[in-house]
């Protein structure tokens, strides 16, 4: 008893607690494990431990042909599955110098933007839920079902569609597609106002997110934090603007930038992006040109030997696809530069000195998808 009383005070202050968050934890959005060192309630440092869903996709890609790779890229970042497939298709088409029909470009761009909206809707749901608002979970997923219905009618699957294939898309859009997209846009424009009313203006939400997890622009660039998280720090890193692909060069849209650099600004960027995505879809949906839904491709696709790189803007940031080909029908090396992997690396840096409850908000604002990290 005596020893305990005589403990020097400074010792208690310097005492460090280590807390394991994950791999099974509701707010890590999957199986991420964070080893957090705490001083009291303050986060001193944290170490992410990945690999709890490392499935060796890059190794598997070396055994698959290019059309078969598509079903694996679906499952890397399942919330922007369509965008991942788009990257593979663009790379193959660029390497083979195939000119895809205009119709395919339109369809792919619309599908990409729908994917972005549904990904942000799901992110909004889980972000609200992480901060204690269960209503968000129900509203976000309710509106997401409309997009899933549109997809299911055209592609046959709810969200892992494998709809893109090198040269085009698997099947033509359903005759109801345009009508349904219009109906969705009309409804969602009303619903997104509800989102703002529930979360964006809420005092509790603002207090928990403003000034939390400051990420400066220099750090964002150095850590490679792309996508809405990077744009929340004022870094203009939208691949759709810097290296336009498909129809993005021809549509008018703004790159959403915020300069507060905190969790709230990352939140607002995504909310604004949903508006921009709807804007893009509106410009394209009525003008889909007639034509084939796929270019003529050879039965066996072989890329000429060389190195190829393709970047696309997925819902979480910049997805880079680096392929080394030796002229065979399977890639020699396929590397996915996934956005969540780089975004995760900054988590330690920006959560130092924050409360552990803020860590949940920061983690959610980076919108991590764990299979996207682990591949």
């Amino acid at each position: 008893m005596k020893e305990i009383i005589n403990l020097p005070v400074s010792n208690i202050e310097e005492e460090e607690y280590h807390i394991n968050m994950g791999p099974q934890h509701p707010s890590t959005h999957g199986v991420l494990r964070l080893l957090v060192s705490l001083q009291g309630e303050m986060v001193r440092s944290l170490k992410p431990h990945c690999g709890y869903i490392h499935r060796g996709i890059e190794k598997m890609c070396e055994k698959d042909t290019y059309p078969q790779v598509i079903h694996l890229t679906d499952r890397i970042d399942y919330l922007s599955a369509h965008i991942n497939n788009h990257a593979v298709c663009l790379l193959v088409e660029k390497a083979l110098e195939v000119d895809v029909p205009e119709r395919v470009r339109y369809i792919r761009t619309i599908m990409d933007e729908l994917a972005r909206i549904q990904s942000h809707q799901l992110w909004w749901s889980s972000f609200g839920m992480d901060l204690g608002g269960l209503t968000c979970f129900f509203y976000g997923l309710r509106d997401r079902e409309m997009i899933l219905d549109i997809w299911e009618e055209t592609t046959g699957s709810r969200f892992l569609q494998s709809y893109n294939c090198p040269g085009g898309v698997m099947q033509d859009i359903h005759p109801n597609f345009q009508k349904k997209v219009h109906a969705f846009l009309k409804t969602f424009k009303k619903k997104i106002k509800d989102y703002d009313r529930i979360l964006s203006g809420n005092v509790i939400f603002e207090n928990r997110s403003q000034g939390v997890g400051i990420l400066s622009k220099e750090d964002a660039i150095s850590y490679g934090v792309t996508g809405p998280s990077g744009r929340g720090s004022g870094w203009s890193c939208d691949v759709r603007k810097t290296e336009p692909y498909s129809m993005y060069g021809k549509v008018q849209f703004n790159e959403v930038l915020r300069y507060e650099c905190d969790t709230y600004s990352r939140y607002m960027v995504r909310m604004q992006e949903m508006h921009e995505s709807m804007n893009i879809i509106e410009q394209l949906i009525d003008n889909i040109p007639e034509g084939e839904h796929s270019a003529k491709m050879k039965a066996v696709i072989k890329l000429p030997a060389g190195e190829y790189f393709q970047r696309v803007e997925s819902a979480r940031g910049e997805l880079g696809l680096f392929v080394v080909s030796d002229g065979n029908k399977t890639p020699y090396r396929m590397k996915f530069r996934t956005p969540s992997f780089s975004n995760l690396s900054v988590l330690d840096h920006i959560s130092r000195g924050m409360k552990i409850a803020d860590l949940v908000a920061i983690g959610a604002s980076l919108d991590l998808v764990i299979p996207d990290i682990d591949r």
């Binding site: 079903h71 299911e152 046959g156 494998s162 359903h174 529930i198």
Partner: protein
Amino acid sequence: MNSFFKYFSDIFHGVKSLLIGMSVTGRYFFSPGQIVTQQYPENRKNLQMFERFKGEVIMLHDGNNQHRCNGCGICENNCPNGSIEVIPAKITGEDGKSKRVIDKHIYHLGMCTFCGLCVKNCPSNALGFGQEFEHAVFDRSKLTKVLNQPGSSIIKGVE
């Protein structure tokens, strides 16, 4: 004095944003027309999947229990993860020549990812997607299926 006002304005803003949020949820509470919940097992009779829905891979059979599969194995080669195994057999046809037909078209539903490459690449359009989605079983071996029905044969003129 400043903090005094801030204290009360914080309370005012807090109550206000609470009421705004409550008004949204309250509106849905009082508008039953916006209920989206579907009563799944009760509406099973008239639950219609979309026509392109990929529930399972099936082999299309016509009324005479005949299919179009000649056992070429293109679906097996195209399948990214080996969900399909084609076991061909040799039979002697009417003209005395031996020809390749299908003995068993084995489909592992428990592995299938519904990428659609088999259906897309089938040269004789023998495969299609079924609308069935109620597959849950207690025994994993039940998920391996033989797609060609017992006693079925190939439609004349397809091979």
